[in-house]
């Protein structure tokens, strides 16, 4: 049982003791007023930054979705034309479909791999080895996605890549990784998962550490062994972490750009073109900023809908201790 005084109580004691260095003048009206000003001053940079660099672009983007604008000429109001055009555009439709498929496959792999490795690392492993794996699995995340993808392009080159060289040692013929629809999609997913699973892994490590040992002991007393312990103890108690990890992984995967752009430029055909790639191409290659904004608005709404659905469903599947 803790013998320390709760923080609020200590603060009150200081505030009510005249002459105490920590005493706060916050109990007078003028003191409250000055504290409020101080709070606003400290909050101002964040509010300003958020407003300027987040809120304004979001509003501008929504407004721009109703205009035709090529940077050079003056914008023209076109109502819902941009939305109608992008909905009819087969490339946009395919890119959204690709993105959804990508999210399902990549997020499943990412979370599955992260969870499996987190459980493995957390169990029966010396502390130094655990620390090593934590760093090693997190390391890809701090690398630039573009440079990783350039490197991977060489690795997966059909003629001269190391991957095919290793396969050739086993007598397997060269695989056209980046020049066939299936191969390029597989490589994009593989590279993305390799680079991003470290974040989910760390979340799961944190989640696993917060599960009380007594719960496992109680489960053991009830006769639960290794696999059953994970199914009936670890997974349910890890569900808040799983929710957080899945929400973040899905949002991130819906915005995938770097890996497919650098590895395949969306090809061959449209096989690896994603929603954000289409936004980029519309805006910065075709100078159709209105259409790009319209696609952006649609993608934002999809992300919001999926996230809301996740939180709604979480009431059924997430268990808190």
């Amino acid at each position: 049982m803790s013998t320390t005084t709760p923080r609020r109580e200590r603060a009150n004691q200081r505030a009510n003791t005249p002459g105490t260095p920590g005493a706060q003048p916050g109990h007078t009206a003028s003191g409250r007023h000055s504290q409020r000003w101080l709070a606003w001053i400290f909050l101002a940079p964040t509010i300003l930054g958020m407003g300027l660099f987040t809120l304004v672009p979001i509003v501008a983007s929504v407004v721009l979705a109703f205009f035709r604008w090529d940077i050079i000429s003056a914008p023209t109001f076109v109502g819902f034309d941009n939305f109608a055009e992008v909905v009819q555009d087969p490339t946009v439709r395919v890119s959204f479909l690709n993105t959804i498929v990508f999210v399902i496959v990549a997020v499943s792999l990412q979370l599955g791999l992260a969870l499996a490795l987190a459980v493995m690392v957390q169990e029966k492993m010396p502390a130094w080895l655990r620390a090593f794996f934590r760093s090693a699995f997190f390391f890809p995340l701090i690398l630039s996605a573009a440079s990783v993808s350039i490197f991977m392009r060489y690795l997966f080159n059909e003629q001269f890549g190391v991957v095919n060289w290793f396969l050739s040692l086993a007598g397997i013929p060269a695989v056209p990784w980046l020049t066939t629809p299936g191969g390029s999609a597989a490589v994009v997913i593989l590279v993305y998962v390799w680079q991003n699973f470290g974040f989910s892994f760390l979340l799961f490590i944190g989640g696993l550490a917060s599960i009380p040992a007594e719960t496992y002991e109680a489960a053991s007393l009830d006769g639960a062994t290794g696999w059953r312990k994970h199914v009936y103890v670890t997974l349910p108690l890890l569900s808040p972490t799983t929710l957080l990890a899945s929400v973040m992984a899905i949002i991130s995967a819906l915005q995938v750009f770097d890996q497919p752009y650098v590895l395949t430029r969306g090809g061959p055909g449209d096989s690896t073109r994603t929603a954000v790639m289409v936004i980029f191409e519309s805006a910065f290659q075709r100078l159709e900023f209105g259409q790009a904004s319209a696609i952006g608005v649609i993608l934002t709404l999809i992300i919001m809908a999926i996230t809301a659905a996740q939180f709604r469903l979480s009431k059924r599947f997430v268990f808190y201790q």
């Binding site: 940077i71 000429s73 003629q159 020049t179 066939t180 090809g267 055909g269 910065f284 100078l287």
Partner: protein, 473 residues
């Protein structure tokens, strides 16, 4: 000791620490204000002539000798070169357009064929009045430059740029790979069938860890030279009227005078042309039989190392490859260059680049003086001391430029224009970015599967091109 330190630390309240942090942030913001506001961009805020080129800071520095020479001639005009790093020309144009949108456009931009019509259509100021005024000074330049390069910068009868450097899609071949396969230098008029049989011979001689034909999926040097050789293209090529003022002034006696126009136009897609199908089918055959790779996205620079290590037999590239191969260790006889193989025609593909004056330029007269100077022999020798490209001036493509570096048949570079005056530019309408995306996205599919997949890819390309050309038109 520890106690004393702790005592001092305790004297710093949280509020003081936060205040210090705030002051620090404020100080850093003030110190970096020139960067944040972009006022440290060369030429910004003063009357300098701001020139944007695609490249690194080292590329900008390499132009310093030319700038110094220009300043000696025009001490009243201050010049600042701004190097903009970009993956490719498309990326570079995007960055320029972003500068335009931000209200900070450069005065002069180095633009390649890929963006020539985009700039001419929306951003650039025509050079016509200056050329008419300084016709006497400019005659020597046009005498030394092939009219095809000039025509590539004509748009609806006006000239928007002077070509500084250019490159044709020629065929580089590895002489070691050729000799291992018992092959000799190809004839100048070799055909696509000769080419294929050469690839087959190389494949037979080196069945593994070797690619007889490596090509990339892009607008220059990808499928387009094959389409041109087969007397077709993926866009219908027409010419606009006008431009006589230039041709009659500077190229009146040129044998190809009658071929010249007010500029190229690409107004309709042509991917449903049977010859386009035939060309793609030929390339599909090369891929299917292991003679050529499925083309990947990206430029050719990464290929230099592979070519230099004798793992590639042939690849299309321009004169810009010479310095790179030399630096990669290739001797002048280790490789050579030939004309692109003939099919129904022997029309080649080229791309060129030169300076364009922006409509928004503060001092257009000063900008013209820079362009005029850059077109002089003196300036071009300062800017192109090495074979990093093919200079637009015929007289500069000489023995001295290629001495000790090769290739043996360097004359092929300029002969591509001199011997084949119908050689055409990269098809790049103002909607070039959308057109290029439409081309690239369908090429891989077209040459990687069966005949049915090829037909589907070309149908898809036709649809994509229709959409691309309709947009922004």
């Amino acid at each position: 000791m520890t106690g004393a330190t702790n005592g001092r630390l305790r004297e710093i309240s949280r509020r003081t620490a936060l205040g210090a942090l705030g002051a620090g942030i404020l100080g850093a913001t003030v110190a970096s204000w020139p960067r944040l506001s972009g006022s440290d961009i060369p030429g910004r805020g003063d009357n300098s002539l701001s020139i944007a080129i695609m490249g690194t800071a080292a590329d900008a520095a390499a132009r310093q000798r030319a700038i110094d020479a220009f300043t000696r001639l025009h001490p009243d005009i201050r010049v600042k070169v701004q190097a903009i790093q970009a993956v490719d020309w498309k990326d570079f144009f995007t960055k320029i357009l972003t500068m335009v949108a931000a209200g900070t456009p450069p005065d002069v931009v180095y633009v390649a064929t890929e963006g020539a019509q985009l700039f001419a259509d929306k951003l650039a100021h025509p050079l016509d009045e200056y050329l008419r005024r300084d016709a006497a000074d400019m005659a020597e330049f046009f005498d030394d430059v092939h009219p095809s390069l000039v025509e590539a910068f004509m748009y609806k009868g006006s000239l928007f740029q002077l070509p500084m450097d250019w490159n044709a899609a020629n065929m580089y071949y590895n002489t070691t790979a050729f000799s291992q396969a018992g092959l000799e230098r190809p004839a100048d008029d070799w055909t696509h069938l000769d080419f294929r049989s050469n690839l087959a011979a190389m494949r037979k001689a080196r069945p593994s860890d070797f690619t007889p034909y490596y090509w990339t999926n892009r607008l220059f040097g990808g499928v387009v030279p094959w389409l041109y050789a087969n007397d077709t293209s993926f866009l219908k090529e027409t010419r606009s009227t006008g431009g006589d003022w230039l041709w009659d002034s500077f190229y009146a006696k040129d044998p190809s005078r009658s071929l010249r126009s007010g500029g190229y136009q690409w107004l309709e897609p042509n991917a449903d042309d049977p010859r386009v199908f035939e060309t793609f089918d030929y390339l599909r055959g090369l891929v299917k039989d292991g003679l050529g790779v499925r083309p990947e996205e990206g430029g050719g620079s990464s290929l230099v190392g592979l070519f230099a290590s004798n793992r590639i037999g042939t690849t299309p590239a321009g004169g810009y490859w010479v310095q790179g191969l030399h630096e990669a260790g290739m001797k002048e006889n280790d490789y050579d260059v030939a004309f692109f193989p003939k099919w129904r025609s022997q029309r080649h593909q080229f791309g060129t680049a030169g300076y364009a004056i922006m409509k928004t330029a503060k001092d257009k007269d000063a900008a013209w003086e820079w362009i005029k100077f850059s077109a002089s022999r003196e300036a071009m020798e300062l800017i192109f001391p090495n074979p990093i490209t093919t200079p637009a001036r015929r007289s500069m493509v000489n023995e001295a430029l290629y001495a000790g570096k090769g290739p043996a048949h360097w004359k092929v570079f300029y002969d591509t224009l001199d011997k084949y005056p119908t050689t055409g530019p990269i098809p790049a309408p103002p909607q070039q970015a959308a057109v290029e995306t439409a081309l690239m996205k369908n090429v891989s599919l077209a040459v990687s599967g069966d005949e049915r997949q090829l037909k589907q890819a070309l149908e898809s390309m036709q649809r994509d091109l229709e959409l691309a050309l309709r947009r922004q038109s």
